[in-house]
Amino acid sequence: MFEFTSFRHPPDNYSIKNAPDDVDMDEDDDDFLETGGLKLTCPGESLTSAQAYMRGHGTYVDKEEVIASVCGLVERVNKLITVRAVRTRYNPEVGDLVVGRITEEMESRWNSRQDAVLMLSSVNLPGGVQRRKLESDELQMRTFFEEGDLLVAEVQAFFGDGTMSLHTRSLSYGKLRNGQLVTVPPILVRRLKSHFISLPCEVDLILGLNGYIWVSKHVKENEREGEEGFDAEAVYSNRNDHIDDSTRTAISRVTNLITILAAHSIPLTDTVLLEAYEWSLEQEGDVKDLLQEDLGDALVATILAKGA
């Protein structure tokens, strides 16, 4: 029941190597840009001359030179240099799928975490898709979404000050239930074709690009559609379905796997998760044993081997 362990300590063999005296940065850069190798950089490091290349995100121009402004990987696309940060806040783009939590309700909109706004005009109102918004709807906003609710939405547009505007106008978006939330750093979720993943163990995943992942019981395809009878009760209800024991175990297992993969900084895609799940089924022991350090390391080693 009680398990006491020790803290990890950093290895004792850190030493600061003396910087080489004559490093000619520009030459290296040109070579790199020709060959296309991997280069890590930190803010203030000069990358290349601004005459030949255009600057992108994560860089700025100073005295005819393109200089990095974040710590990260230098990427080059033809004549465009960008630096992609290693750990950063989620950068939204139009069309991104995100999972958010309502933090506040205001006059005809809901506020979600990290500066996003869901307008009343962007949700499906009961009574059909084309219904016009009425004033009584504004007063009853709480019957649709309350503070603390989780939902999946798509980024529709940006306001002038950078706030995102979301919409849940499609039937696959809306309130989330029958599951639990896992948080990972946002960069580990890449832009995929579809962010709705179905694992064979009756577990559905919604990978939000902001790092929130919703793991839930599987919803059958045909139950998701149904345009004619848009049932407001069902879509905005807070009640979960009955979830049986094997599904619950599977959800816990997937949650633990995602936590381990995120701790080891492995990007999450459906193939990675499927392999991880199958590997974990072969192991003995309970779901909670997955969280131990040695099992986690073994899992990561297997995944990397298969990937490479």
């Binding site: 506040e104 309700e105 709480r142 503070e147």
Partner: protein
Amino acid sequence: MQSAFDRRRINGPEESSPPVFATEALEIPSGNAQKTRKGRNTSDIRPIFLQPGLISQANGSAYIETERIKIACSVYGPRQSKNTVYSEKGRLNVELKFAPFSCERRRAPLRDAEDRSIAVAIQQALLSSVRLEMFPKSTIDVFLVVIEADGIEGCIASGSIAASTALADAGIDMFGLVMSCSAAVVGTEIWIDPTQEESNLADGSLVLACMPALGSVTSVWQSGRMTPSQVLTCIEACESKCTDIHSVVAQSLLDSARAATTTNA
């Protein structure tokens, strides 16, 4: 602070403390011999005087006296919450203040740590008894002033009784009245409703708050050293006392309600 460095006057010493008068001959505790309780049986509580409706401008109020403990309680609400966060259930806010003359040593008029501890204990006792789901977006404020104090446990117990009476006087929906009683373990005996002196002698003390009408406990507050069996004995003893106190409180509320209806009619 400036007065200490006032050169136009003759200043007193920088540090001074109030005199403590020894009125009765102080008895030196006689070591580990079993102490006997003076003036009461081990299972007697001090007589309670409870008067609801004393403060007319509050929505509800109550004044309680148990020998040397005197507490006045007033209830305001339900009022709209000032902060904008919406909450489905109402909020119960309990604030307690010791009057500067309430204890042997003068207490500063600023809020200090002990005020908040007792207020938190009273709030815990009352929290499950009020039907907060009937007051979304609202706050119910309970303000207690301790006019004379005699032991922390006694203040918590009497404060809870006063607050529950005041809530009933304010007409706020509740599941039941909250009664509270304290007990102390002195040697091998259990003394109910200890005074300050008695709880100084005790190894451990316990305050129980319950709703006798529903037979459920809303708060247990225990400190000091007690064996688990002593804890359970104290809880049972307090619970039976709470049932007795409940009839007293219910009677006084009915009397004041009757008085109010006869004056209105």
